[in-house]
Symmetry: C2
Subunit: 209 residues, 2 copies
């Protein structure tokens, strides 16, 4: 069994999507003045590798704690689209993969080759028709290696709204640099916040030999 | 496959260990003024269900990111000690369970029956001799259903130091109310913070039918 970490590192240098709360970590108290060291963390609910709950983009929709843990745990497929030149992941690319109902789908794009040490505007995103396509199939989860699944500043909100209005959670901020196309076991249950729009997670893939 | 959530809920009512940073969640911006809802989270590194890294109690020791993910993912045993009257989990109780090197051990005590909606001083903890015993066996992880593995205000720091000085991470704040004694698969990798003393995690057990 091989464990592959697909989470971004979290620290004071972690980039956040513009307009989001900055990530800040500081020492609350330390050894030897105290018997233990404790830190204070301030962050946005959509920091690093994180889950978007329906309430993130659909008024009055499900908060994170209402999504079954099954959506976050189980078989998944990673599609390697990092050789594609398009600015977005398209419906056509997904049709070629024969996506089925109930699948957990992670999209590896050029973003994973570029890395995410700094935020950049021209990240590869999911286009609106592709989001409608996945929502129509009723997949269980969609993930991407960008801090947002939607085009930076774009007016087409379907990458959020088509998926989230069908209660399909989205995982953003994946690090798929070292992951090949294929089938894995995914574990990415988010922190157990109640009544929230999203939360960070430690996402890992398990590959069985 | 059954997924059992063993994590405490996180919100503005979540109790924290005295002296720790309070947990606070608030709306950063909301729909319809913005296209999305985002929240701001402030919390301590040892909030709710969380991992203690060696650096939590041993000056200069390993931070969380240096612990292999294998410590947090794999087979585990839950010991149901909730019928015991002692104020602590003792070496004798553990000897009776035949603990072996490399095991992940979760301790269910009366705390799980009492619940953790409020903090209380007289929680069941691990005693120093019992901690030495587990450290001597070189288990891979130790968990307990209290916000600290150490007696409240106690001078015996071995429940932290014996385990952490051997790079055995501790998971605290487990909710084992609905978990029976037995063998499970444990998944509790913490948030991917670098150079930190500990971090929250979403801990789950998988039970195969």
């Amino acid at each position: 069994m091989k464990i592959i970490d697909i989470s971004l590192p979290l620290n004071n240098q972690t980039p956040v999507y513009p307009g989001n709360v900055s990530l800040s970590v500081s020492i609350h108290h330390a050894i030897p003045e105290h018997a233990t060291q404790l830190s204070t963390i301030t962050m946005g609910s959509h920091t690093g590798t994180h889950i978007d709950a329906p309430a993130h983009a659909v008024a009055g929709a499900m908060t994170l704690d209402k999504i079954p843990l099954e959506n976050f745990i189980g078989p998944c497929r990673v599609f390697d689209l990092s050789k594609e030149d398009d600015e977005a992941v398209t419906k056509k690319m997904l049709e070629d993969k024969n996506v089925k109902k109930g699948e957990r789908i992670l999209l590896k794009t050029r973003n994973s080759l570029r890395g995410l040490k700094e935020f950049y505007d021209d990240y590869v995103y999911l286009d609106g028709d592709a989001a409608d396509y996945l929502a129509g199939i009723s997949v269980m989860l969609v993930g991407i290696d960008a801090l947002s699944i939607k085009k930076r500043g774009g007016d087409d909100h379907r990458p959020h709204t088509s998926l989230l209005s069908k209660n399909i959670p989205i995982i953003e901020g994946l690090n798929l640099t070292n992951v090949s196309e294929g089938s894995y076991e995914l574990f990415c249950p988010p922190l157990n916040f109640t009544n929230i729009d999203g939360a960070p997670t430690r996402a890992v893939l398990i590959q069985h030999a």
